[in-house]
Amino acid sequence: MLIQLKDIKKVYNQGKPNEFQAIRGVSMAFEPNRVSCIKGSSGSGKTTLLSMIGCLSRPTSGRIQLGEQVISSLPERFLTDVRRHTFGFIFQRFNLIPGLSVLENVMLPAYPLGLPYKKLVDAARRLLQQFNLASKADNPIEWLSGGESQRVAICRALINDPKILIADEPTANLDSKLSNEFMQLIAELRQSGRTVLLTSHDPEVFDSTVVDRVVEMRDGVVLADVG
């Protein structure tokens, strides 16, 4: 599914003394089934841009189109629906819910869909198997290491079978060995037909051969676009 951005702007705290323009007019497109990485120093607007594409927030002005659908003007209800069926998220801080088991964390995004329990558990276990976590399924999430936590986060992002994966600074909490492994997983995801959007200021990520395209941002605008 093609993602098109047209003159996107994002202003935080509009009309207030602390008004801040985080994105100052970005136009570009992301082709399906590719791995794109947005790089840039901290505060350049990478996270803001990803969250608008992922329907976690809306642009102040401009147009975001997902395939044929304009999502930048959708009411929140429909936005959630798009988000749920189209995007899977992997956050920098993993954002797993403590106190729940590994399995429960993975199933979380599917609860509102009301699938039969058996079907849901089977799907979750299959994912955990695929990511080498089968033996940890019933452990509390707190018992896992950083690398395992991230693989759980990937499983959770995949449970609703999204076409687009969004990962914001996914390797920030991993050492270089784990970062490498993560990029191999990303390669597999692309193989399975998914579109992947990453942000990073880690060369291990944006210089990786897995990445098809690197977009560089600074102060809310696109500086360079390679690939």
């Binding site: 969250s51 959630t80 998220f89 954002n95 819910i97 106190g99 509102p112």
Partner: protein, 377 residues
């Protein structure tokens, strides 16, 4: 439909596991909540039951009581006053009564002694209320000794226990023969404690009372309606005090709930953000939190209400005794007859569950409508 139900089930499961995850906090909240429901329910159950009992008691009492007053004090009334009343229109029956209070220094309680039966009732037989029986550990066949004003001891054998719909009436009651009563209290034949009149038509009661005052200027008629009104005002006044106290605590509770909710901890806010980011709708989050509130408030309501029921009807509302009852007549421990009605339950529910749900759901709503992009940071 099935989909909807399954979805609710997932949300409820999630809620339950959230509550278990925050065990300490959930239990603390539950404890405070239960205590408040317990207090509210105790007051309501207690005052309702008392009113009910007072109503029962008054139903059985005569429409008009005639007391003789001397120097502003209640005095014995001569039997010939019955003749002096003569035939008043509307009066169905008239009779003299003998009754009095008896202070028992051993259990520090006032009994009410009344008479029953005719002159041929054995002098030494006595019927006692279940309250006295319980306090003194007495049963049928046992002996009870009472002392007259001059210190003379009278021994009675218990022939029966008083069973009654209402223990308020019978708890502290002793029934003996008129003869024994006269001996114990040194009241000569030809005198009564007061006279009672029953009136056929309730609308004629005032007229009869007026005539009585003219016929017997040294007496005072006491109407059942007046007694009822006095009781009502006593109940209402005491209930009022308690309700002011309770209102205070309920308010404190609402503030506490509000504070807990509006000050949603960073952790809870983050959790809501995560749920929304991974695909939950605002409505899903709200439903989940609604179930959470329901689980807590229904549990608290159930436990609090049942505890209050036990407190009022099996433990004699021991916590409220000093506030709600001031009458020495009621001193012997008595047990109220359980009395519950739907309206009362609904009112309680309304005042305990609803404020909590509202107080918690609004701040949660405010948090969950916010864009979930904060979880990215």
């Amino acid at each position: 439909m099935l989909l909807f139900l399954r979805k609710q089930k997932y949300l409820i499961d999630y809620t339950l596991s959230s509550l278990l995850r925050r065990k300490g906090k959930s239990l603390g909240l539950l404890a405070v909540y239960t205590t408040i429901v317990f207090m509210l329910a105790s007051v309501t159950l207690f005052t309702h039951a008392l009113r009910k009992e007072a109503g029962l008691m008054l139903q059985a009492s005569p429409e008009i009581i005639v007391q003789r007053m001397q120097a502003g004090r209640h005095a014995m009334i001569p039997a010939d006053y019955l003749q002096r009343i003569g035939r008043l229109r509307g009066v169905m029956q008239k009779a003299g009564r003998l009754w009095g209070y008896y202070y028992d220094p051993i259990v520090k309680a006032n009994y009410t002694i009344m008479t029953e039966g005719q002159s041929d009732t054995p002098l030494t037989e006595i019927v006692i209320g279940t309250g006295i029986a319980r306090v003194q550990g007495l049963d049928v066949g046992d002996y009870l000794t009472l002392r007259s004003q001059s210190g003379e001891a009278f021994s009675f054998q218990i022939s029966a226990l008083l069973e009654n719909d209402s223990e308020l009436v019978s708890a502290d009651l002793l029934l003996m023969s008129p003869k024994a009563f006269r001996r114990l209290f040194s009241i000569p034949e030809g005198f009564y404690t007061d006279l009672v009149l029953s009136v056929r038509n309730p609308r004629e009661v005032n007229k009869v009372a007026e005539k009585l005052s003219q016929l017997l200027p040294d007496t005072r008629p006491i109407l059942r309606d007046e007694v009822l009104r006095t009781y009502e005002s006593v109940f209402s006044w005491r209930q009022g005090i308690l309700f002011v106290l309770l209102l205070g605590s309920v308010l404190a509770f609402v503030i506490f709930a509000w504070d807990k909710a509006s000050g949603l901890s960073a952790e809870e806010r983050r959790e809501i953000g995560i749920l929304k980011a991974v695909g939950w709708e605002t409505a899903d989050v709200m439903r989940m939190k609604f179930w959470e509130g329901m689980v807590i408030s229904l549990t608290a309501f159930l436990i609090g209400y049942l505890a209050a029921y036990g407190h009022v009807f099996f433990a004699s509302a021991s916590l409220f005794e000093p506030v709600l009852k001031g009458w020495s007549v009621l001193y012997p421990q008595f047990r109220l007859t359980p009395y519950v009605d739907g309206l009362q339950l609904a009112t309680l529910f309304f005042f305990s569950v609803l404020p909590y749900i509202v107080a918690t759901i609004i701040p949660i709503w405010r948090t969950s409508i916010a864009d979930p992009d904060a979880v990215m940071r």
